[in-house]
Amino acid sequence: MTYFFQLVVSGIVVGSIYALAAIGFVLIYKSSRVLNLAHGQLIAAGAYITYTLTVYCHIPIYISFVLSMILTFFLAMSVERIFLRRLIGEPIISVIMVTIGLMSIIDGVIYLTPFGSENLSFPSFLPSQPIVFQGIYISYTQLAGVLITFLLIGVFSWFFRKSTVGISMRAVSDDQMASMSIGISVPRVFGLAWATAGLTAAAAGGILGNIVGLNFDTLHAFGIIVFPVVILGGLDSLPGAVAAGIIMGLIQQFASGYLDGNWGLSGTASLLPYIVLLVILLFKPHGLFGTHEIERV
């Protein structure tokens, strides 16, 4: 039973990081219907920025964590400004392809920094002894990760429910022309969506870097696993992203906890999300909480 609960706890830990990563993706989709394939790269950028600030600029990690969120906020905003703004009004498919180009560009830029092909690890700043509760283990780093995730999710949900920005975002995603006609600045909304996406990505990157260390491949792979999560959640739903993140975390933990190593199975945890993805696509394409398209002819 302890084993089971341990899996649940680990699932939630992993899942909440997925959720945090997914939120940024959802924000962009919500406002512009764009699937941002370069989200993994934003996460990587956030992780590397946090690392640079901490290790090279000797800023205490909690400050550099926040600073990195701010920097990535502006980074993502300028990405939108430079590359995506020109595409307002173009078919969504082009914009999605631009994010594919962005993937490569950000990769290239990261390669130009000294980190491109390095394995790095954050200096540990929390006690390395785990917390043990009834035989269930959780490390301080993970706990901090979960807490930060939920804090950020809370702040964002509040922000989007309360402010008109949230409503404007939904309006813009619905009909750009009509939004312009009532004076919503569509570029501003997009800029804001990207910027906040950058902010959450940086947070996810920072936490991720602390948990598994900085390795370009791992960060990349993480960027891809976000897709099954957001599809499960329903692409444009923030609560969906959170629920789906945690569900996916649990699925993976249970897979590696109960499937792997038995019956000759192995690596199911990394495969299952994509199978889940396919199943969801087939049977519940709008995910758990996604908006159904209103289609009247």
């Binding site: 084993y3 341990q6 899996l7 706890v9 680990s10 830990v13 992993v14 990081i17 390669y111 491109g116 092909s117 390095e118 394995n119 790095l120 690890s121 954050f122 200096p123 540990s124 390395s128 002894q129 785990p130 043990v132 283990y137 959780i138 490390s139 993970q142 991720l208 948990i211 598994v212 260390g213 900085l214 390795n215 370009f216 491949d217 791992t218 792979a221 993480f222 696993i225 993976q252 933990q253 249970f254 590696s256 906890g257 792997d260 190593g261 192995s266 690596g267 945890a269 990394s270 495969l271």
Partner: protein, 381 residues
């Protein structure tokens, strides 16, 4: 003087570039050193280094270009491309040293030579070490491997070794994904009574595993500590990168390779650091075992050219190939960067057969025991 053309194609960017990068610098620096110090008289070696981003198609293109250039010796990199180009190497009779120590590379090939003992030999060597140092009963071992041929091949060979009498119990083999949390796996191992974990993969998953195990308080503080797990790994799992990634969690990790490390003082370490310093390499590159790896293949290349020259033979691929085949017995080559001699012959395509075990103590790899040679690796052939 003459210019001898050689070439190296490897992943400087893309997957595994963390290894490929210092590797390329090692080779580059050593060839430069040869030319600068006139080690071949007024002849020089021109080694073209190309990035292939770990893509076989690009490796192939690079290789064809190298052939057009008229290279006489070739250095390759990944398991994938070495296997893919195996037939080409044989057809054009090109002596080749890859960075991959995959045992399958040299199967059915006359021209591919592994620089050091194969992954299989390394892993079996680790298992033998476990058997020799474990107290009481049959040690329970789990294997943690890369989800590819690179990771799987040694598992098969360990199984063969067990059949041949190696006294370990292989409890389970895990092919890792890109996991963020390994708690479940570690807990499962604990419940199955696993005492040793042998890894055959690259550093970052190992680092994640070690951190996870550390968090759960499962890492043995000394070899074979009762009720905990001792972690071991082969060449590409270790080195300073592992310490960089895993931090404190890397403590007491056992690692084997045939290369010297700079954290253990010695002639090899000095030579390596000196070379790095001469060409202005940073701290990290200088101390990388992959840098040593790159130097070593360049040394072998230089050595065969030197020997062929000394014999008064023309420097071409056939003659260099012959030199490789004769590099044994009295003619064994002792590069300072390895823990044993490089020996090749018609039916021995593994260079340095000797392995050295290292263990992390206070954030650095320290030699543990004397260099050894895996017995079972020979037995199962």
């Amino acid at each position: 003087g003459e210019v001898y053309k050689t070439a190296l194609s490897l992943a400087i960017t893309g997957p595994t570039s963390d290894a490929g990068n210092p590797y390329s610098k090692g080779a580059e620096d050593y060839f430069r050193y040869v030319n600068d110090m006139n080690l071949l008289g007024d002849d020089t070696i021109e080694c073209t280094i190309r990035d292939d981003k770990y893509e076989t198609a690009i490796t192939k293109r690079n290789f064809e270009e190298f052939l057009d250039m008229g290279i006489v010796f070739y250095l390759n990199y990944s398991t994938g491309s070495t296997l893919a180009l195996k037939r080409d190497f044989d057809e054009v009779k090109m002596p080749t040293l890859p960075a991959s120590f995959h045992a399958g590379n040299i199967e059915g090939s006359d021209y591919i030579f592994l620089p050091i003992a194969s992954y299989s030999a390394q892993n079996i060597g680790l298992a033998e070490y476990v058997v020799d140092h474990h107290e009481g009963g049959t040690p329970k071992v789990a294997m943690y491997v890369h989800p590819s041929a690179f990771g799987r091949e040694p598992v098969k060979d360990i199984e063969k070794a067990i059949e041949a009498g190696l006294d370990i119990e292989l409890v389970e083999t895990v092919e890792h994904g890109q996991d963020l949390d390994v708690t479940a796996m570690i807990q499962r191992w604990r419940s199955k009574g696993v005492e040793y974990v042998i890894s055959q993969t690259v550093q970052s998953p190992v680092a994640t595993m070690l951190k996870g195990a550390g968090n759960l308080g499962q890492v043995a503080e000394s070899f074979g500590e009762e009720g905990k797990m001792t972690f071991l790994g082969a060449h590409y799992t270790g080195g300073n990168d592992l310490i960089a990634l895993a931090g404190d969690a890397a403590e007491n990790f056992y690692w084997t390779t045939s290369y010297i490390v700079t954290s253990e003082p010695g002639a090899g370490a000095e030579a390596q650091l000196e070379l790095a310093q001469r060409y202005g390499r940073d701290e990290k590159t200088s101390n990388s075992h992959n840098y040593a790896n790159g130097i070593m293949v360049a040394q072998v290349t230089t050595e065969v050219i030197r020997r062929a020259k000394a014999r008064g033979n023309e420097i071409n691929k056939e003659n260099l190939y012959q030199e490789l085949l004769e590099m044994n017995g009295m003619n064994a080559f002792y590069p300072v960067t390895t823990v044993g001699p490089v020996t090749y012959s018609k039916d021995d395509h593994q260079g340095v057969d000797t392995l050295q075990l290292y263990v992390v103590r206070d954030g650095a790899f320290r030699a543990e025991g004397k260099p050894f040679i895996s017995e079972y690796a020979e037995k199962i052939k």
